[in-house]
């Protein structure tokens, strides 16, 4: 990670909810341009908070950045509104409710082109055609209400909407949520192809560790609001703890460890980490 200026640098970040609950503390990470950076961690590790901090959604949740800084393309984006970070090219694919359920797929996509350059009619048509190429099912269901889409189709629509924003940095929150492994695999493949085609930078946040390890160039592991480990996916794979507790693999002869041992591990990490 020795690029002269990374696209995004989170420095020593601390986020507090309701002025009393510190959700993440001392989090630093670097997202180089053109890379896929992954963050893994269990529920409550602070992954979503991190994304909210970057995209500017904290004030709406009665939370604030109490320390540290977020630098995007060389300027601090701390305290910007969501639509302002969006106009800088940071687009969030939210965790759950990610589409407008009472509007049709076509209307969803039309809203997603909110920021699209209105002077160039041709450019806008071509990007929407490309989106339909990437996700043919959306073209099929163009006139259908987004509330009636399946989980996988919704995720595709959400990613398509994010792409229409013409982002430089795509923040994907829990892409695996509620998706069957096969659906997830095809989505992963498509996202990878799109990323190559558009030259996107992606920050992928998921608790499903194997997808993050498969997709990313650099991984961070979050626990209890802090980053406990980072490195390229190969090093993560080689790391014994990660193998055991995020991937469920074990090298020891006695097989999978018991729940009790997992608990003990977690307690140990909390004390020492």
């Amino acid at each position: 990670m020795s690029t002269s200026q990374p696209l995004l640098r989170v420095h020593n970040l601390e986020v507090t909810y309701h002025r009393k609950l510190v959700a993440i503390r001392n989090v630093s990470l670097v997202v180089p341009a053109g890379a896929v950076v992954g963050v893994i961690g269990i529920n409550g590790a602070g992954k979503t908070t991190l994304l909210r901090a970057i995209s500017g959604f904290l004030p709406g949740e009665d939370a604030q950045i109490t320390e540290g800084d977020i630098v995007y393309q060389g300027r601090s984006i701390k305290g910007l509104q969501p639509h302002e970070t969006c106009s800088l090219g940071i687009t969030l694919v939210p965790e759950r409710d990610k589409v407008f359920p009472t509007l049709t797929v076509a209307e969803n996509l039309a809203i997603a082109r909110w920021r699209g350059d209105s002077n160039d009619g041709k450019g806008r048509r071509s990007i929407i055609d490309r989106v339909f190429e990437w996700f043919p099912v959306l073209a099929e269901r163009r006139g259908q209400l987004a509330g009636y889409l399946s989980g996988g189709e919704r995720q595709m629509l959400a990613i398509a909407m994010a792409l229409l924003n013409n982002p430089s940095l795509l923040l994907v929150d829990e892409m695996s949520l509620g998706l069957a492994p096969s659906v997830l695999a095809s989505l992963e493949e498509r996202l990878r192809a799109i990323k190559e085609e558009l030259g996107l930078t992606v920050l992928l946040v998921d608790q499903f560790a194997s997808i993050v390890i498969r997709m990313s160039d650099h991984c961070y592991v979050m626990e209890n609001g802090g980053i406990v480990f980072d490195g390229p996916p190969e090093r993560l794979l080689a790391h014994e703890d990660v193998r055991e507790f995020y991937l469920g693999m074990t090298d020891s002869a006695q097989g999978v460890k018991s729940y009790r041992e997992v608990k003990q591990y977690r307690r140990r990490r909390r004390w020492y980490g």
Partner: protein, 355 residues
């Protein structure tokens, strides 16, 4: 978009037209002719009732823009309606200025200003909390208005002269009918165009998922405030026109019940639908009169005469509840169901993706 009709746009102009299909054009023409000719057959009383409906259309459009499209629940309608009425009263009584169009425009401006004020909490609170905070506005405006009326107005209210456009004085129900029909039609057209514009899209996005809307780059603050301002301006405009139509302004009229009535219009008609606003306005305004009329057809036994009023209220409630059991999404959904039945007949459903 025409449902499963095989009707395709071949030019952008066609795609942008409000009335795109031949059926819509023909039914609009038929409606326009019917509206224009109604005064020739209707009695003065009937015209008066339809006039009330036209005013209700303005109010229910305003409520539907805010609640149905932007998703901001507000209970301040009666306050804004009163603000419109009292702006007209103030201008007539204090400034001696009674020209119809400037007064209505001034009332709208006051409404927009108050709307911005009442919309400020929407940036922080949602749902029921927002509803209560808008209720505060109603209390403040009505309090101010009643103080003014007690000190400077008569006990019966403030008289407002009939409007006139040059030599044409708007006096009889027939003249009012034509004026209000034009105003209601213009307001409806404006709203139809507003909700399918960029602004309307932003409102619907905020209503559905404000987080996603912001992630799409929509400035929430600006569009929420805009929704409050536009809706309040329309509500105040309706209030001013209503004041002219009634010929006087009195604070008793602007009770919380008025808010509930207009809320009922948008909910019964269908949230998030302009046609729903129109249907709701007509049905809620006319239903008491229809029930009254129906009850009067049957001879009332002597000992029940006193209870007839209660009977009518019960009938009103029962009708509304029955309608919701029949179609929870309002009258407009009922209409959609009828329409799609005839469009698809003899089939039961259409293939997905053909729309």
């Amino acid at each position: 978009m025409a449902v499963g009709s095989g009707y395709f746009y071949v030019s952008y102009r066609q795609a942008l037209a409000v009335f795109d299909t031949a059926f819509k054009k023909q039914s609009l023409l038929a409606l326009a002719i019917a509206v224009a000719l109604f005064p020739l057959v209707g009695s003065n009383y009937q015209l008066y009732l339809v006039n009330l409906c036209f005013i209700a259309v303005l109010g229910s459009l305003s409520q539907n823009l805010l609640i149905g499209y932007a998703g901001q629940v507000s209970l301040g309608f009666a306050g804004l309606f009163a603000a419109g009425g009292f702006t007209a009263a103030l201008m007539v009584k204090e400034l001696g200025f009674s020209a119809f169009i400037p007064v209505v425009a001034a009332a709208s401006a006051v409404g927009a200003l108050l709307g911005a004020l009442v919309g400020l909490p929407s940036l922080r609170v949602k749902g029921l909390y927002l509803a209560i905070s808008t209720l505060a506005l109603h209390a403040v405006i009505v309090y101010g208005a009643s103080e003014y009326q007690q000190k400077f107005g008569g006990s019966a209210g403030i008289v407002i002269p009939k409007p006139s456009f040059g030599p044409i004085a708007i006096d009889s129900d027939r003249e009012w009918y034509y004026l209000l029909a034009v105003v209601a039609a213009l307001a409806t057209l404006a709203c139809i165009n507003l909700v399918r514009s960029r602004v309307g899209r932003a409102w619907q996005a905020i209503r559905d998922r404000d987080v996603v809307a912001a992630a799409c780059g929509i400035p929430l603050m600006r569009y929420k405030l805009l929704a409050f301002m536009v809706s309040s301006a329309l509500a105040a405009m309706a209030g001013a026109i209503d004041a002219y139509h009634a010929g006087f302004v009195s604070v008793e009229k602007y009770s919380f019940l008025l808010t509930v009535q207009y809320l009922a219009m948008v909910v019964v008609g269908g949230l998030g639908s302009i046609l729903g606003s129109l249907l709701g306005a007509f049905v809620i305004t006319l239903l008491p009169f229809i029930i009254d009329f129906t009850v009067n057809i049957f001879p009332t036994p002597e000992r029940l005469v006193i209870n007839v009023l209660q009977l009518q209220r019960i009938a009103f409630g029962v009708t509304i509840v029955a309608m919701f059991i029949l179609e929870p999404r309002g009258l407009v959904a009922l209409w959609e169901r009828v329409k799609s039945f005839f469009q698809l007949w003899p089939f039961k459903f259409m293939l997905s993706g053909t729309r």
